[in-house]
């Protein structure tokens, strides 16, 4: 098998996490939203589109201002990151401070996924260039535009000095950060890594997906027989991974990561989901478990006809027909480079709260799909192991397995 490596990695505890998305800031807000099943998608407010679309936006008033000394990093992307980091109940920032005290700032890495970085601000800069024929003073390429800008901001904000980089593989970006962080910890390069992803709305993605003719004109309805495309969202899902320690045995663990390529097409998934199958099987192998032991799969389920079909064929191939699965993008939109981080946190919530989220917007599932597609959220059921799929442009596939760790 092409991706049958990375088998000698131990489970890595997730010691803290927080999230921002259209449901608000913090994991409790997202959990409440998942339970209610009421879509957070609305008509666009940040950007006026010349076409009908729905977006999952974070209200401007929820976004904090960056400290004066880090103003040069100020973008919508870093503001979303900062809101997530500062959420008091989730206490991600204090968990990172504890990790600094325990291991030292040089032992903590920052690996952040994004597909947008500060492109919204770069677009604003181009409007200024168009109008005034000169580059505005506020534009800073290396602290706002580049893919690594948000990772570097978090590193400076938290005064960390370990390895710091961005991963940008479109919609699998932030899932890949968990795989990369797992390796940094497993090999002893780092003792802890801040991972996940941040993406913000911009004209480029809204109009880009429109040009591909896959923007839904109603709030997206993944897996539904009448699904007709995606709705874009924004947000951040940040997770702190630490090296295994007896104090962390009660934490949710990252049990396995699978990565693969379709080697098929730039935007269309392989029809039989060959890369998706390989990523899921690779994650199962690394976690050392059988497909039957997965209690729930959080699907990538974007809402396009082809994506959902390809993924469900892959699910059939790996799990047969009895697996519990659902897609959550009808609730908060497709957050692109942040999707893997946010959906890892949804998986974490399933394990913490013993529930399976429903598929927001689903009326009747496509008849060709096998698998037990959960329509309304189910609470009070034991969930021990969750798989989270994310697939990006270029056939870049990831599958993560989260669960409770048993020695």
């Amino acid at each position: 098998m092409n991706s049958a490596y990375n088998t000698d990695v131990t489970p890595i505890p997730i010691t803290a996490c927080s999230v921002s998305c259209a449901s608000g800031i913090g994991t409790q807000q997202l959990y409440d939203s998942l339970i209610s099943g009421q879509t957070c998608l609305q008509t666009p407010r940040l950007i006026s589109t010349g076409f009908t679309a729905y977006t999952g936006e974070i209200a401007d008033e929820l976004l904090p201002t960056l400290d004066l000394e880090l103003q040069t990093y100020s973008t919508r992307n870093t503001q979303i990151a900062l809101a997530t980091l500062n959420h008091p109940q989730d206490a991600l920032r204090s968990a990172i401070h504890n990790a600094v005290a325990r291991y030292g700032a040089d032992r903590i890495g920052v690996v952040i996924g994004t597909s947008t970085s500060g492109i919204y601000e770069t677009e604003n800069c181009y409007f200024d260039i168009e109008k005034n024929q000169q580059i505005p003073d506020y534009f800073n390429f290396s602290t706002q535009h580049v893919w690594s800008a948000t990772a570097n901001f978090l590193k400076l904000e938290l005064e960390l000095t370990g390895p710091c980089y961005a991963i940008s593989t479109a919609c699998s970006s932030s899932s890949k950060t968990l795989a990369s962080a797992q390796r940094l910890i497993a090999t002893g390069v780092c003792d802890a890594v801040l991972t996940g992803g941040v993406d913000s709305l911009c004209r480029l993605t809204l109009n880009g997906f429109k040009s591909l003719d896959i923007m839904s004109e109603k709030p997206c309805t993944p897996l539904d027989e009448n699904r007709c495309g995606i709705s874009i969202g924004e947000g951040a899902g940040l997770l702190l991974l630490e090296k295994p320690h007896k104090e962390h045995t009660a934490c949710v663990h990252l049990l396995g990561c699978g990565e693969s390529s379709d080697a098929y097409h730039m935007t269309a998934p392989h029809p039989e989901g060959r890369g998706a199958i390989s990523a899921m099987q690779s994650a199962l192998r690394q976690a050392g478990i059988e497909a039957e032991q997965i209690d729930y799969v959080n699907l990538h389920a974007t809402g396009t006809v082809l994506n959902d079909q390809s993924e469900m064929r892959a699910i059939q191939s790996v799990f047969g027909s009895n697996i519990n699965c659902s897609g959550t993008k009808g609730l908060i939109g497709h957050t692109l480079g942040a999707a893997g981080g946010i959906e890892s946190i949804i998986s974490w919530l399933c394990l913490k709260h013993h529930f399976i989220p429903g598929t927001c917007g689903l009326n009747k599932a496509d008849e060709s799909f096998s698998g037990h597609i959960i329509k309304n959220s189910k609470t009070g059921i034991p969930v021990k192991t969750v798989m989270n799929n994310n697939f990006g442009f270029g056939g870049n596939n990831t599958s993560l397995i989260l669960g409770w760790h048993h020695e």
Binding site: N2, S3, Y5, N6, T7, D8, V9, G50, I119, T122, E123, C125, Y126, F127, I129, E130, I135, F141, S142, V146, W147, S148, N152, P163, C164, Y165, A166, I167, S168, T169, A170, K176, S180, R183, A186, T187, V189, R203, L204, N207, G208, K210, S211, L212, D213, E259, S260, S261, D262, A263, H265, M266, T267, G275, S278, G392, F393, G394, G395, N396
Partner: protein, 254 residues
């Protein structure tokens, strides 16, 4: 910096590949066999892909050929700005309200464009990583490669590339379009071994005189290439980044 860490499982350098788009630049730097040659890409794709993707594919093809390995291996692609020329065109269209955007330009603006076309052209289903970092990009690509080799990969392809920056957006940037590629592995190499890179705690004179604007992160691999080209047996500690606190790696030529 302790020798003990440098000695941890060094990587074998099985092959190298370079692409410098401008011949004059290549000559002035003393590098040979580095012309643009993206013939691995199907003609239809080649015509429509960017300079970034074509230089990355050129260097990667050369590294695999130099290592006498097929193309089916996991890969780590690293670039600071990725497909900046396509992004520039899309942003200009947005500013001029020229909709709809080009769907081809849109999907070719993602950071993993080069790695995706590479995987498609080589029918390679191994994982493709697309990273970005500032002055440390080459070093962090080496680190990710080392981590993958330590956790089960047999061989890995590293490609670090940067295309020319659009001058009207970045007038102070003067990047020579170039890409450097390495095939790294476990098996014994006639060429050299390279350690896991480590960040120094002492400032480098080089970095303070050389900004990221004048040196793309791909050029951080030049000291390594020069050391390999000289091919004098010995142990060398070389800089593999342009940052003020440089990343260092130990290279052993047998």
């Amino acid at each position: 910096m302790s020798d003990a860490i440098f000695n941890q499982a060094p990587m074998s350098i099985l092959g190298t590949g370079l692409c410098i788009k401008n011949n004059e630049t290549a000559n002035s730097l003393g590098f040979k066999d580095c012309a643009l040659d993206a013939s691995l890409l199907p003609a239809m794709v080649r015509r429509r892909t960017s300079e970034a993707t074509r230089i990355a594919v050129s260097a990667a093809t050369r590294a695999c050929s130099n290592a006498a390995t097929d193309h089916e291996l996991p890969a780590v692609f690293v670039s600071l700005s990725g497909e900046i020329q396509v992004t520039d065109k899309l942003c200009q269209a947005i500013a001029k309200n020229e909709y709809p955007l080009s769907p081809t330009q849109f999907h070719n603006s993602v950071h993993n464009t080069a790695s995706s076309y590479w995987s498609m052209a080589t029918n390679n289903q191994f994982p493709m990583m697309a990273m970005s970092a500032l002055e440390d990009g080459f070093a962090l690509g080496l680190l990710e490669s080392w981590c993958q080799l330590q956790t089960g990969a047999e061989k890995i392809l590293l490609v670090v590339y940067e295309e020319e920056a659009p001058t009207h957006l970045l007038p102070d940037y003067n990047w020579e379009p170039c890409a450097i590629s390495l095939v790294l592995g476990h098996t014994e190499s006639q060429l050299a071994t390279i350690s896991r890179p480590l960040q120094s705690t002492q400032e480098s004179g080089y970095a303070s005189e050389n900004s990221i604007a004048s040196n793309s992160l791909a050029t951080a691999g030049f000291p390594l290439l020069r050391t390999l080209l000289k091919n004098n047996s010995g142990t060398y500690c070389i800089e593999v980044s342009h940052s003020v606190l440089p990343w260092l790696a130990e290279v052993v030529i047998p």
